[in-house]
Amino acid sequence: MPKLIKGVGCPYCGSSCDDIEVLVSDDETKILEVHNACIIGTNLFHHANDPTRPKLPRMRQPDGSMKEVTYPEAIDWMAKTMLKAKKPLIYGFGSTNCEGMSAVARIAEKAGAVLDNCATICHGPSFLAIFDNGYPSCTLGEAKNRADVVVFWGCNPMHAHPRHTSRYSIFPRGYFTQKGQMQRTVLCIDPRETDTAKLADHHLMIDQGHDYELFDAFRTVLRGFDIPETVAGIPREKIKEAAEIMKKAKFCMIFFGMGCTHTDGRNHNIDAAISLTRDLNEHTKCSIMAMRGHYNIAGPGQVWSWQFGFPYCIDLTKGSHAHMNPGETSSVDLAMRDEVDCFVNVGTDAGAHFPIQAVQHLKKHPFIAIDPNFCMASEIADLHIPVRIAGVDEPGVVYRMDNVPIQFRAVIKGLPGVPSDEELFDMVYERMCELTNTQPVWLAAKADRKYPESPAVI
């Protein structure tokens, strides 16, 4: 009898929807049906059935081909390579659980590595702005229950977070927003007429790359000063109208995305956005939220902040203290300056998502990919170690884009012999300790933590 598992979290985007229902085969090895998820999430779950999923590590041979090796061999090679490297870079973690992120930190300390996550190429600038200006935000339920004005700035949830608008931001009927979309005024600020812009009541088609000016114009108008006839391609009257809508809101919610962080200005755009939010709080209640990309990309920011005090770009090479300075200790910059001599790609695909020049630099040195599937990074790596898929065959805690921890469950049994990220990192750490004749140091909880149970029903 197939089993229907409810309340499953979706390991794709930062919406981290946890209302998915998955029908699995009687022996819990196959996913048969996926309900409630978007097309991307559905594909992701079904992809876990792929019979060609790697079950063993593969090592690149001198002739350039890949050959399967055992896990102990792979772990030994990884441990030795990391110890040998002067400044290894461990990067990724958009798609794994917090248990893995916590475990990798031990390795990073031991190896004296730089620890970085996908935020470095996505919402890193948002972190920089938060360092400067704070982050007046809320959980997504607040947006759902209260927001009557919703602003999407440089983000396109209809494509990047397909269920965001129906679960949290535009359509849902919340406690104080019983009429759903009817009760909400939606503003979209984007240089393209995206599918999100088409849903909006007002689309401000900004000149690409002029976000800072427009944020500034809003702030100026809110403070009662005049602005030029057009700012960033938007007529003055339109800006005034939009500012008035935000000001008159009962609860204004601003979502922003890569359109602000990937372009000129970077953190300064976000800085202005946060200042705008703060200014609006003089008139009404206003919150802002970064549209985080992956389902647990908020995770490393949390885990490493409590472990090291920094969310990303953490240089542990000094041994005595952690150091962070994006631009200096950020992955792409380190790569372009040839400062790292070993690269470990975990739960992401730097091969596909870094500018190709950065990939070329990284490939000069040992390159290790840890990923459940074949990806671009695994196909250029010297060593590819497959692991279980967090949220599919491995449970664990993930942080949604609003930093709400959601305890994901496993829906199927993992491939035999394939470890989770956490187990793999713990084994690598143990091997590194053996190689250096030191005692592994676990915090008290280790023994129980290693194989967390996966309660399908509470």
């Binding site: 990047a160 088609m205 990937h262 631009g327 870094f354």
Partner: protein, 136 residues
Amino acid sequence: MPKIELNMITQRSIEEGAAMEKGKTNPDYFDACSICEMHPEDMKRAGIWKNTNVRVTSECGTVIVKAIMPTQYVPPGLAHIRQGVWANQVVPPRTQSTGTPQYSGFPVTIEPAPAERLKTALELVQGAVGLWKGGQ
């Protein structure tokens, strides 16, 4: 050959996401990401027919993609390649000291290249690091 200068952005799309989760060597991923969207007027200016290949060149690289009509309206002067392997062949790695590359808002020249072949994701990435063993 006519050339045009456009402002390039590379962002997500649901087609790209859905295909990526099937695997980056899946044909869907190729179809979803090896394309460049631009305004019909810009195509006309450069002598580009829709659904033909073009060469996109930035300060740091070049890539062959297929020019298509915008799936989401793009104003004149702006071009969009979906986030992914093809886009990242031309994305400048400069970060303005923030760690984040210039994924959006960098100048490119686009010219017709109807005779050029689209490369697969694997060929592009493995080719860039000297591992590509497949045919040309």
